[in-house]
Structure formats: structure tokens, C-alpha cells
């Protein structure tokens, strides 16, 4: 007999194998992070049930068991290795094992060259992720699977990270998408994450085995894998126990049960973990703190029987819905704070019904709504005003502190902060890429550890050594928390540590502040998360400042909306808000459809509320509503895209040559097109990017943290190959053209060398001539000769003279292209000046004109009736100047120059597009911001990825416009 233990991130498994390797004992239990107690308990139990087990070899596996095993004298087996041993023993002939666990995902390739892959620093697409999503959908985990089976349509949900997925799902829920469709979409995201993140260029084929909790319990998840991999995998008996069984198979050492149980029980880890000073040293200190904060207070009056004028404000937030009723002097008559449970419409309806029930005679003069669900609520209930969240919060904060300088709101899933400058919103920070450090994060942890959130956060108030957990992703935080527990941190220390990390995340990840002075001394904090005293205290400690927290911190959005409605109505008239009678006839139906009016083909959710009132969500432009195409003649992005697509192939004697349309090709295509057309090639570029095109190359992406524009290249090359191109030209370019704006003129490493990745990871490029030579277009004199040398290897009949002529034409074409772009830009600017329109410099890289990359953000912005130009239109308008960074990349030099130019004009604003994972932008964003802020311009950054939540983008743009209007 042999015994194996598997300590996973959430569960513990134990098996006993007999001498024929038959499973004779098994147990599977959640350990609720009480790992050591559970091990001791299980060992004791097994000893009682299996005779003679004390004299058998024992081994332990699992990520959470490493430290314990070492210190308590049990052999440790790495868990993927254990899985491999078990698979080879129990299912010989297995080619690939896919195993999903609580926090990890693994693929094992057993045949044709053993390879084992596990998720690295990202835990998107694991069991924990599915758990989180179930919470978000407000369905028990067990029901997810049944729900998913009833799907009709699927949505695209970001597959990289749980946090991203969350931001995708929340708007879907708010827009009324069906839960069944979302559940299935979540499963698809898991599959996509596993395949894209782990396969890394290796095909998953042959006999596939599914292991681990999520794949065992959710048959629909297995189906999703089957469909994507075009195969039928098996989920064997005891699929939960493979790691434990593998450990047992590897076991060699006989342990002394008494000794080990004693060791395990006494195991306290290293006792070393980084920690901060306590939140409160004494009860007295806490007392003083509470008294101080009790001063920021809104008076509560009776709603029942109130006969004056009333104002209603509502805030349909991402995870919670808030509603308030105010009297004429801004006092609170009624308020409600409820979880949105994925359907804000129902909650708001209930809120209004309650208000009318308490006071049927209520004279509502005006109403306003804000938050994620603003649009749908406004339509559903005929709310008078819809306002952007930032304005709502600012309005509310001013009520408590008229000279407020800085407002920070930490809500369920988002952080919003803004600086106030001369009475206007000046600088807005939103968390777009990351929601760690928000309320839902604390909640998830509290629940995971078996507490209610209120109780949990109170635990931290007097913790002696609050754990230093840093400020990163939720999933990493999970592991850090576990590590701290192992190292002896108490639950109190962890609670306080999590509160601190919420604050640090907000300050250093979102706002990126280095000192309180930078943010001002007059600070109002709000949002439900700040009702938590531990978070509030942590914030004050980290900032070294005393702040104001209104007693209605959680209601501030709604309160601000109500104040706004009050101000706008000037206390006159009657609100058109749905009354009790309207509510009694209220209906809400949801239909999902595809727009189909342009190639974006947005997935629309059509909400009908009876009486012909409709609300469409999911659209990127106004077209499905107005049925008119957005005007594109003042949109540079649109122009450039059309221009680049106007280069048509011309038949040539040397045959077809394909160029993948991505990254730098969005600007260099005219150059290479002319060059090769002159050399008598028929030059084709790959078709427009699309989700489908992306998926065609997805399996061959080796690095899951590279930027999305680079990932798209795999799809472009694959599409070219599939269309029968014999030659594909995609050169390595260390240098770009020198535009004399900076110290050097490099391309970033990814743009420069991505052809190497394509060549080394896409096996199909071997079937064709894949030309990825290193060329120096930055040296027009040397270029023809060097290009001739390189290219004659592929096309021996080329002559140097031909190449010289072609090169000359190519440089001319490039110049002509850039000239056209600039001229059109000038034209747009001139016209905007004439019409008195605002001009937005949408600054990014050439490839940001790809609609699959920018997600139609240009159109969205154009919808606000502003002119859009790109950075390269205005960058030539300034001379080279000194920057505080090494200005060494051509594309980035343009950004600095554009920013500099924008500061010289009152009618221009700069919005920077940043691709997630762009390392270079970690440098450029700060510099661009500095250039703008030095001249009191507002800096706006939009992070974009595979999927982008346009809702957040809208908030930014609306707030920016509101801020400019206030000037």
C-alpha cells in the first residue's frame, strides 16, 4: 500500500493505493485554508480506517503543501509531475492532460516530447476564476453548468484575466444579457485562456484527458474544450484524485505517523512575513477616530408624510445599486443600498415602489441617475437626467467640503479618483485594467475565509502585525495570503493587510501618487468600501493626512445625482420619472441580436420596457439607434484606415507576395507595397483583423503577456498562408525612420523583432518563403544594396539596379503617404477651427487605427461631436525639445511632440491609447502626462486590450468633456 496527499489551493485530497495500484481509499475536502489541521485530521482518520497504513510509504503533493511537507518530514512531489506519473499509470496512451485546479491550470504533453505547462503569474481561467464569476452572476457554482447548457448565444469575454472578464461581464449583466449565455461565455473564456495561455504554439491533439475539480464537475466546460479542440476528451473515474494518486505512486519513504501528525500540528511556518505597523495602537485611538469621522453627517428626516418638494437620485453601480430621496434642504428622506444582483432594473423598480408605498403623495420635482447602468435606468423609468459618475461624486463631495481638492471613491469593483482644480474636475483616474483593491475583492476574501465582510474587516482594526501584501492582482494576492498564513500570520493580520493593500493599490497603481502633497490636503473619501473603518484608517495612514468620510459614503453617487437634479430643475416643475401607476404596468424584455450595420457587428442587447420604449446596449456607435452612419469626415483614424486599404495589388511576373497587416505595417505598407510592386510582385496584404482571424493564430502565441497587436500578427500570417501566398514578407526592423524629434529612432523590441517569433512558432511558415530579413530603411543610401543582398537569396534573378529604382519609388511613396495624412489632418483641424469644434488628438501608434485593436473608440469619441486627429498629424508642428526620458523610439517621440503641441492650443485635448502589456508605455504615459500637466492640460489615458470595456471609456470622455466645459 501507498498513501498520497494532494494539498490544493482550496481542497485537500487523500488516496491509498494497494499493491496493484488500485484505489482503495479516497477523500476530497475543502480545507478553508486550515491546511495543517486538516492534514492531521485526515492522517488520523486514515490510520483508523486502513489497517497497516502506518508502515507504508507516504508522499505529499500540491502547491499549498510544499512548505509543510519539507518541514514535517514528508516527501514532496511536484503536482504536475505527480499527474504525469498517474496518467501514465492509469491511462496509458494519453497524449495530453488538461487539468484545472483552484488556482492553477495545466497542460501536460505526454507523447512526442514531454512538456509540462502551467499558468505563470496569471491565474485567469482557473477554478477560482469560475468561482468568482458564479458570485458575480449570483448563482451557486453547481448551477453554472446547468445554466451554460441552455445557452443560445455567446459573448466574447476577455480570457486573459479574471479581472478583465469581470469588467466584460458586468456591463453585460447591466444591459440585461441572459445569464445562461454569460455562463457559457465564461466557460469559453476559460477554454480560450487555457489554450492560448498554455499551449503556446503546440497543438493539442490525440487522446486528451480532463482532470481536476472544474472539469470533473462541469460537463459543459468539457464540451467547450471538446468543441474548441475539435476532439472528444475523456474525464476518467477518480479524475479528482490524480495528483494524490501520483504522489502515492512516487512515495518511497515510510513516515512515522505520530511524529508527522505532531509536526504538522506544531507547524507554524517561518514566522517571517513582511508587515506594517498596526492600524490602531489602542481602543482609545480608535474611539477618537470614530468621533472625528462622525462629524461628516447628513441629517435623516422622515419620508412618511413629507409634503414638500422631493428629489430622487439613483446610482446603478457595478455591483451595488443606490437610491436616495432628498428634501428641499438636501436632507435625506430615504435611502437604499443594495447589491445589483446582475439586474439593476429590478432593484430600482423595487426602490421606487418602496418610496411610493411609504409616501404615495410624494411630489417628485426632478430625478437623476448615474453609474454603469445610467442609460438603461434612464430609459426604463424616464429619469429626468443622466449624469456621468464623476460629476455626481463631485457634486456630492462639494456638499461636505466646498473647497475639496481631491476625491477618491472606492466602490465594489471600481476606483474613481479625481483632482479638483479651480472648481472643476481636472484629473481623473479610473481603474480600467485591474480591480484588485476594490470592495468586491475584500468581500471575496472574507467569504473565502468564512466571514461576513463587516466582521472580517473589523478583525483587522487591532491587528499587531498587518501583513504587507503589496499591490497587485487579486489572484496573486490569494497566493500571498496563503503564504502569509503559512508563515504564521493571524487572520487579524491578514484582514488588516488586505485593507492596506486596497489603499496601496488605489494610490500607487491607479493614481500613481508618491506623496499626499501631490493630491492636496482637502480630501473627501467615499464609496462603500470606505465605510469600512480599517480601509479608511489605512488610507489616512498611507496618506499621512486626515480626510473626510461622509456618513453616507456609500450613497454619494446617488446623493450627488439628487443634488444635481435639484440644481438643474431649480426647484420647479414636475419630474417625468415613472410613478406608481407606471410601475404597475412595467415590463422588461430582453432580446439579443447582432447589429450588422457595419463590420464591427456589435452584439446588441435590446431591452424593451413596454409602451414602445427601448434601450439598446452593446453598441459602439449610434448607428443602430439613429440608423445613420457616424460622420467620418472629421475622423483621422477612419481616413487612415481607408487610405491604407486603397493600395490594390497589381499583377506582376514574380508572383504573389503577402504582407501581414499589423504593427508597423499600418504605416510602412505604402513603402513596401511600392517597393515590391516595382519589383514586379503582386503585393497583397492580409484582410482586416477580426476575432476570427485572431483565433486562427491564437494557438501559436508563445508569450501570453505580449501586447494584443503583436498577438494579432499570428492570425494575419496564418490567413496569408491559408490564402495560398508563396512569399510572405515581414522584415525585422531595429530602426524606424528618423523624424528628428528625439535622441534616436528605434522601434520597440516587439515591433522590431516580432517576425522572429512568427518564424519560430508558426510551423506553417516553413511551407512558404517567409522573409524576415533585417533591413535598414533608416539609411536610404545603404538600403538598396543591403536589401539587394538579402533578397537575392530568395529571388536570384533580382538585379541591383532594379532594387535601386524600386527603393527610390518606395521612399517617395512613403513620403507621399505621410504627406496625405498630414494634409488631411490639417484640413480637419482647419475645419474644426471654423466650426468651433473641439479637436481630440487620439495619440497612439500606427496600428491603433485597427478597429479590432481600438474597438471603435475613435467612433465613440467622434460621437461626442469632436474632430479626431492622430499624433503624427501634429507632431511635425513642433521642433525637437528636451524630455525627461530617453527619447529614443520614433513612434514615442511623436507622442511627446504631439503632447507638447496640444499644450499650445485651447481647442485641443490629448487622449492616449495604450495597449495592455506595452512596456514602453510605462515610460511614455508618465512623460506625456508631465508635458500636458505642466501647462495645465488634462491627461487622459485609455488602456486597451483584446477586449475593452467601452463603458469606462465613455466615462472618461464624458468627464473630460465636462471638465473642459467647466473651464
Amino acid at each position: 500500500m501507498k498513501l498520497g496527499l494532494d494539498i490544493g489551493s482550496t481542497t485537500i485530497k487523500c488516496v491509498v493505493l494497494d499493491d496493484e495500484n488500485k484505489l482503495i481509499y479516497k477523500t476530497y475536502e475543502r480545507h478553508l485554508s486550515q491546511i495543517t489541521d486538516k492534514i492531521a485530521e485526515i492522517l488520523n482518520r486514515v490510520r483508523g480506517e486502513i489497517k497497516g497504513i502506518e508502515h507504508c510509504p507516504v508522499a505529499l503533493s500540491g502547491s499549498a503543501g510544499m512548505g509543510v511537507a519539507q518541514d514535517c518530514g514528508i516527501d514532496f512531489v511536484q503536482e504536475v509531475y505527480a499527474t504525469r506519473v498517474a496518467a501514465n499509470t492509469f491511462i496509458p496512451g494519453t497524449d495530453v492532460v488538461i487539468e484545472l485546479g483552484g488556482e492553477d491550470a495545466k497542460i501536460l504533453f505526454l507523447t512526442n516530447g514531454l512538456e509540462v505547462r502551467m499558468n505563470g503569474t496569471c491565474a485567469g481561467g482557473t477554478g477560482a476564476f469560475i468561482d468568482q464569476m458564479a458570485t458575480l452572476l449570483n448563482v451557486p457554482l453547481e448551477e453554472m453548468d446547468d445554466l451554460a447548457k441552455q445557452y443560445e448565444k455567446t459573448y466574447t469575454i476577455a480570457s486573459r484575466c479574471g479581472v478583465f472578464a469581470k469588467t466584460d461581464i458586468q456591463p453585460l449583466l447591466n444591459q440585461g444579457a441572459r445569464k445562461a449565455d454569460i455562463a457559457e461565455s465564461i466557460f469559453n473564456a476559460v477554454v480560450s485562456q487555457t489554450v492560448a495561455g498554455l499551449a503556446q504554439g503546440r497543438e493539442i491533439e490525440g487522446q486528451i484527458v480532463y482532470l481536476g475539480g472544474p472539469l470533473t464537475f462541469m460537463s459543459e466546460l468539457r464540451n467547450c474544450f471538446d468543441r474548441t479542440l475539435k476532439t472528444k476528451g475523456i474525464c476518467p473515474d477518480n479524475s479528482l484524485y490524480y495528483v494524490a494518486a501520483g504522489a502515492a505512486l512516487c512515495a518511497e519513504e515510510v513516515i512515522d505517523f505520530d511524529e508527522v501528525i505532531k509536526n504538522v500540528k506544531n507547524y507554524r511556518g517561518s514566522g517571517n512575513f513582511a508587515f506594517n505597523s498596526p492600524l490602531f495602537e489602542s481602543e482609545a485611538e480608535y474611539e477618537a477616530f470614530t468621533v472625528r469621522h462622525a462629524k461628516a453627517n447628513v441629517t435623516q428626516q422622515e419620508l412618511k408624510g413629507y409634503s414638500g418638494k422631493a428629489y430622487i437620485g439613483m446610482d446603478a453601480g457595478s455591483t451595488t445599486v443606490k437610491g436616495v430621496v432628498l428634501n428641499e434642504s438636501g436632507e435625506l428622506l430615504h435611502s437604499k443600498y443594495l447589491p445589483s444582483k446582475g439586474n439593476p432594473v429590478e432593484i430600482i423598480k423595487a426602490f421606487l415602489e418602496e418610496v411610493y408605498a411609504i409616501n404615495p403623495e410624494l411630489d417628485v420635482v426632478s430625478s437623476a441617475v448615474t453609474g454603469y447602468g445610467e442609460d438603461i435606468i434612464k430609459n426604463a423609468f424616464d429619469v429626468d437626467y443622466g449624469i456621468v459618475e464623476t460629476i455626481a461624486h463631485f457634486t456630492a463631495a462639494k456638499y461636505f467640503m466646498p473647497d475639496v481638492e481631491f476625491i477618491i471613491d472606492i466602490g465594489g469593483q471600481d476606483i474613481k479618483c479625481f483632482k479638483i482644480h479651480n472648481g472643476a474636475i481636472d484629473n481623473i483616474f479610473l481603474n480600467e485594467a485591474c480591480s484588485s483593491g476594490c470592495g468586491s475583492f475584500l468581500q471575496t476574501f472574507a467569504n473565502a475565509l468564512g466571514y461576513e465582510i463587516e466582521e472580517f474587516s473589523k478583525l483587522g482594526l487591532f491587528a499587531k502585525r498587518p501583513v504587507d501584501l503589496g499591490s497587485r492582482c487579486t489572484v496573486f494576492m490569494n497566493s500571498s495570503v496563503k503564504q502569509a498564513q503559512k508563515d504564521g500570520a493571524t487572520i487579524e493580520d491578514i484582514s488588516a493587510g488586505l485593507s492596506l493593500s486596497v489603499v496601496k493599490n488605489a494610490l500607487y497603481k491607479v493614481i500613481r501618487a508618491s506623496s499626499p502633497d501631490e493630491l492636496g490636503k482637502r480630501i473627501v473619501v467615499q464609496g462603500g468600501t470606505f465605510l469600512n473603518d480599517a480601509v479608511l484608517r489605512a488610507f489616512e495612514m498611507e496618506m499621512g493626512a486626515q480626510v473626510v468620510r461622509p456618513n453616507i459614503a456609500g450613497l454619494m453617487g446617488a446623493y450627488g445625482a439628487a443634488l444635481y437634479a435639484k440644481r438643474k430643475s431649480k426647484g420647479e416643475g414636475k419630474s417625468k420619472l415613472a410613478n406608481a401607476d407606471d410601475l404597475s404596468h412595467f415590463v422588461h424584455e430582453i432580446k439579443v441580436t447582432n447589429c450588422g450595420l457595419c463590420n464591427n457587428n456589435c452584439r446588441l442587447t435590446v431591452n424593451s420596457f413596454g409602451g414602445g420604449r427601448r434601450f439598446i446596449a452593446g453598441n459602439r456607435c449610434e448607428r443602430p439607434i439613429t440608423k445613420k452612419a457616424p460622420s467620418s469626415d472629421m475622423n483621422m483614424y477612419d481616413y487612415k484606415l481607408k487610405l491604407i486599404n486603397s493600395y490594390q495589388p497589381i499583377e506582376g511576373i514574380r508572383g504573389k507576395l503577402g504582407i501581414p497587416m499589423g504593427l508597423n505595417m499600418y504605416e510602412l505598407y505604402p513603402f513596401w507595397y511600392r517597393f515590391f510592386t516595382e519589383l514586379k510582385f503582386e503585393v497583397h496584404h492580409s484582410p482586416a483583423s477580426s476575432r476570427k482571424l485572431y483565433q486562427r493564430g491564437q494557438q501559436t502565441i508563445p508569450s501570453d503577456t505580449v501586447c494584443f497587436p503583436a498577438k494579432l500578427m499570428h492570425g494575419h500570417v496564418q490567413t496569408l498562408i491559408d490564402s495560398g501566398m508563396e512569399n510572405i514578407f515581414y522584415p525585422c526592423l531595429s530602426y524606424n525612420f528618423d523624424e528628428r524629434l528625439g535622441d534616436n529612432h528605434y522601434n520597440c523590441p516587439v515591433v522590431a523583432y516580432y517576425p522572429e517569433v512568427i518564424r519560430n512558432n508558426m510551423k506553417d511558415v516553413r511551407k512558404i518563403n517567409f522573409i524576415k530579413e533585417y533591413l535598414g530603411i533608416h539609411r536610404p543610401k545603404d538600403f538598396p544594396k543591403k536589401a539587394y543582398e538579402r533578397l537575392s537569396f530568395y529571388f536570384p534573378d533580382l538585379t541591383l539596379n532594379e532594387v535601386r529604382v524600386a527603393a527610390k519609388r518606395a521612399y517617395e511613396e512613403y513620403d507621399a503617404y505621410m504627406e496625405k495624412v498630414r494634409r488631411k489632418g490639417d484640413e480637419i483641424i482647419e475645419r474644426a477651427e471654423k466650426e468651433g469644434k473641439k479637436i481630440f488628438v487620439l495619440a497612439g501608434r500606427p496600428y491603433h487605427i485597427d478597429p479590432e485593436i481600438n474597438h471603435g473608440i475613435d467612433k465613440l469619441i467622434a460621437g461626442f461631436n469632436v474632430a479626431i486627429v492622430s499624433e503624427d498629424v501634429v507632431s511635425p508642428r513642433v521642433d525637437a525639445f528636451r524630455t525627461h526620458v530617453l527619447n529614443q523610439w520614433t513612434y514615442h517621440s511623436r507622442l511627446y511632440a504631439a503632447a507638447k503641441y496640444v499644450t499650445t492650443r485651447k481647442d485641443m485635448e490629448l487622449v492616449q491609447l495604450v495597449s495592455f502589456g506595452c512596456g514602453v508605455d510605462a515610460i511614455t504615459t508618465d512623460e506625456v502626462r508631465e508635458i500636458l500637466e505642466e501647462k495645465n492640460k488634462i491627461y487622459t489615458q485609455i488602456k486597451i486590450d483584446e477586449i475593452t470595456n467601452l463603458g469606462a471609456v465613455k466615462i472618461r470622455i464624458r468627464s473630460l468633456l465636462a471638465a473642459i466645459d467647466n473651464d
Binding site: 510544499m66 497587485r472 531595429s734
Partner: protein, 434 residues
């Protein structure tokens, strides 16, 4: 206190002669402990008052996060965090302190570290602290000059550092008398430091003689050659060498009973010089610079030859021969891929697999741009060429928990151990047959 002078064109705060004269303390990050101790004495020999920062601990990363964009690579966060932490510690007279940082140039973000450091200094209220760029001509300071003689001594220091690291890695896991290897490392690094401080020990003849003696001393260490899993470490240069950045990777591997091989800094130096030669060949350029770089590479190569010869003389696995390493990567990654560690990273993995260190940890900061190409992006191809290569890539950043990293490395080691076992069994079977 020295007068603060600024560069006219760029406005950069300069490190002046007066500062040197006044004995400004120059702080340097300690990337590779064996090397940097020796290199420090080269600078001391030239009258610079320098100190290596030995501080560690979570507050360094925290300080970095506070003053540098959080998405910047981990080495920048650590190095800048360490500097500011030191300035804030009260240990130094901040008005008589300067900071030194390497600046390799090239299209990687790393060339910007020095600018980020200056930005951070300004934010932290230390704008008056001068920063010296240790680079070939990127930024000039009147008080600090990389003269040819200094460069020769510096390169001499690299040679000793590389050799000590190489040899100690081959003896330490097997030494019978625990601690003997490290004692010898200390003795020899003291010895060569003293020589370099006195302005000796860097000519080819002296290097040859010293390497011979040094290597001979290591060959006398009594060893017990039990079979061990042999692991190579490659990656982004700071994360690869710095204990603080890689969470004590070498120590961890030693605990797991492995022999470790870290390719030396000389290869990287050759690579950086060679880049300029390749650039000229690929795109054209200044012929004089090209000729100069060729001479420089020849010089570095002659030193490399001395290292290889001495190692071979005493039956050690010699350091990689740059020209051979370069040959290996032909057809895998082009020589134009020069940003960061460039093609050298890929080449080192191939070389390690060839020389018996087929278990490889490829380290990089989270989101490292060049490693998308040369690390993660090249592994599939490496495995095609060297099917025995057993590679794990590990990302480092302030939020990546050590336990996850170690777990992944353990997986790589489990496969490595299995292969080792097979090899031992095969050998046993063979000798039984014989």
C-alpha cells in the same frame, strides 16, 4: 559642498571634478556580488569613493513602487527603490553622495532606467544628487571618465569575476569540506581586488598567470562527485544575477541539490560590442567605429581564451566560447536582434543544453519586451534543436509570489531528476555489460 553644475544642452546634473575631489560617496547597486566587489576596487583604484548597496528586504520594492511607474520592469523598480531607500536611510550625507548606474543603450526600456531614476529622485526630493551613467559615451561627466586604462582594468575585473563564479559553481555542490569553496572565492577576490586597486593584474600576461593559479587552487578542493541535476540560468541580466530580484534562485537550486551554471558577464560584454559590428554589416555605417569595435572584440576574445584554457587545463567545464555560442543560434534568431539580451539569451540556452546543463531556468521581469522574442518566443525552436532541453520560464515582479515560482522550478527539476536517474541506470547497465 560642491557647486551643482548642469549640462548646458540637456540640463542634466553633472558629476564634477570638484565632487570627486571632495570624496563624494558613489553608491552602486550590487547586481552580481562576486563581480561587483572586484569592480569596486577598480574604481577605488582611480580615486573614486564607492560603496556597493547590500540592502535587501521588501521595503526596497515598496520604495520603488512608490517612485516609479508600476508597470516598469522589476529591475528598475528594485534598483531605483534601493537607491532612494539608501538616500532616505540617513546613513549617507546626501549632499555628498552620487549614484552610479549602468546604461547599455539600445532599444530596450533599460536604457531609460537612468532617466527614471532622475525622475524618481526629483519626486523624492533628491534632485541634487548626481547620477553617473556607466556607459560607453552616452552621458559625459567631468568628474568621471571611462578611460581606456580604466576600461582594461574593468574588463580584467569581469574576467576574474566570471572565472570565480564559474569555478565555484562547479565545486561548491560537491565539496567535501563545507565552506571551502566560498572561502577560496573570498580569498581570491580579495587578492585580485588588491591588485586592481594597486593598478596591477589586468594585462594579458598577468591575467593568464592569475587565472592559472586561481583555477589550480580550485582544482585542489576535495570533491565528492555524486550525480546532481545540472541547471543553467539565463535571462534578463539583472534578474539573472541579483539575489534580491530572483528571490535567491541560486540558493534555492543549491538546496534542491543541483549544480548551477550561470553564463558569465564576458559573453554579454562581447555581445554588446559585437552588436555594433553586426549593425555595420547589416545596415552600413561608420567604418572607423566598426574597426575599433572589431579590435575591442578581439581583445575581449583573447581574455576569454585565457579563461577557457585555464579551465580546461584543470578539467573544469570551460566558459562558453562567444564565437561558438554565436554560431549555435544561427538560423534560430538573427544577429540583428540586439535589444536587451537579444539573441545571446537564446544562444546561451542552446549552449547550456549542449554542455550538459540541459535543465534551464529562463528568468525575466514580468512583461520583459525582448524576452517575448528571445526567451519565451524562441523556446519552441530550441526544443526542436535540442530535444533534451528542459526549460522553465519564470517571471519576476513585486507581486509574483516566491512559492509559485519555486513550484514551477520544482516541476522542471522533477523532470530533470527523472532524466538523471535514467542516465545513471543506463550507465550502470552499460558498465554491468562491460
Amino acid at each position: 559642498m560642491a557647486e551643482l553644475k548642469y549640462d548646458k544642452k540637456t540640463g542634466r546634473l553633472l558629476f564634477t571634478k570638484q565632487m570627486k575631489r571632495e570624496g563624494y560617496m558613489i553608491l552602486m547597486p550590487n547586481m552580481a556580488p562576486i563581480h561587483f566587489r572586484i569592480l569596486r576596487s577598480v574604481f577605488q583604484g582611480y580615486g573614486y569613493n564607492c560603496e556597493l548597496l547590500e540592502t535587501t528586504g521588501p521595503e526596497i520594492a515598496q520604495t520603488g513602487l512608490k517612485y516609479v511607474h508600476n508597470d516598469t520592469c522589476y529591475p528598475a523598480l528594485l534598483v531605483i527603490g534601493q537607491f532612494i531607500n539608501a538616500l532616505q536611510s540617513g546613513k549617507y550625507d546626501v549632499h555628498k553622495t552620487a549614484l552610479m548606474m549602468t546604461q547599455t543603450g539600445g532599444g530596450c526600456r533599460a536604457s531609460n532606467y537612468i532617466y527614471l531614476l532622475r525622475k524618481a529622485l526629483k519626486k523624492a526630493g533628491f534632485a541634487f544628487v548626481p547620477v553617473i551613467s556607466l556607459s560607453f559615451g552616452m552621458e559625459k561627466n567631468s568628474g568621471f571618465a571611462l578611460t581606456l586604462p580604466l576600461i582594461r582594468r574593468f574588463v580584467g575585473g569581469l574576467v576574474y569575476g566570471d572565472q570565480l563564479m564559474l569555478l565555484s559553481n562547479q565545486t561548491k555542490p560537491y565539496e567535501v569540506n563545507k565552506g571551502e569553496t566560498m572561502e577560496l572565492v573570498m580569498r581570491w577576490s580579495d587578492k585580485v581586488s588588491k591588485m586592481l586597486l594597486d593598478g596591477r593584474g589586468y594585462t594579458l600576461e598577468e591575467v593568464d598567470e592569475n587565472l592559472h593559479k586561481l583555477t589550480k587552487d580550485f582544482s585542489k578542493i576535495e570533491l565528492n562527485r555524486v550525480p546532481k541535476v545540472k541547471v543553467g540560468i539565463v535571462g534578463e541580466i539583472y534578474v539573472k544575477y541579483s539575489k534580491m530580484a530572483n528571490n535567491g534562485l541560486e540558493d534555492f537550486l543549491a538546496e534542491q541539490g543541483c549544480e548551477v551554471c550561470l553564463p558569465g558577464l564576458m559573453g554579454f560584454a562581447s555581445f554588446k560590442v559585437d552588436n555594433r559590428i553586426e549593425d555595420y554589416k547589416m545596415f552600413g555605417g561608420n567604418r572607423l567605429k566598426y574597426e575599433f569595435c572589431k579590435k575591442l572584440l578581439d581583445y575581449v576574445t583573447s581574455l576569454e581564451t585565457l579563461m577557457i584554457e585555464s579551465a580546461e587545463r584543470f578539467n573544469f567545464v570551460p566558459p562558453h566560447k562567444y564565437s561558438h555560442t554565436k554560431e549555435l543560434v544561427k538560423g534560430v534568431i538573427g544577429y540583428g536582434s540586439k535589444m536587451g539580451e537579444g539573441w545571446l539569451l537564446t544562444a546561451e540556452m542552446l549552449e547550456l543544453a549542449e554542455t550538459g546543463y540541459e535543465n534551464i531556468v529562463c528568468t525575466q521581469p514580468f512583461g520583459c519586451l525582448p524576452n517575448h522574442i528571445n526567451g519565451k518566443g524562441a523556446i519552441r525552436k530550441i526544443k526542436e534543436i535540442k530535444p533534451n532541453a528542459n526549460i522553465v520560464t519564470i517571471d519576476y515582479d513585486p507581486g509574483a509570489p516566491k512559492v509559485n515560482q519555486e513550484n514551477r522550478i520544482k516541476l522542471m527539476l522533477a523532470v530533470g531528476k527523472e532524466e538523471l536517474k535514467k542516465k545513471i541506470e543506463a550507465e550502470a547497465a552499460q558498465s554491468a555489460e562491460a
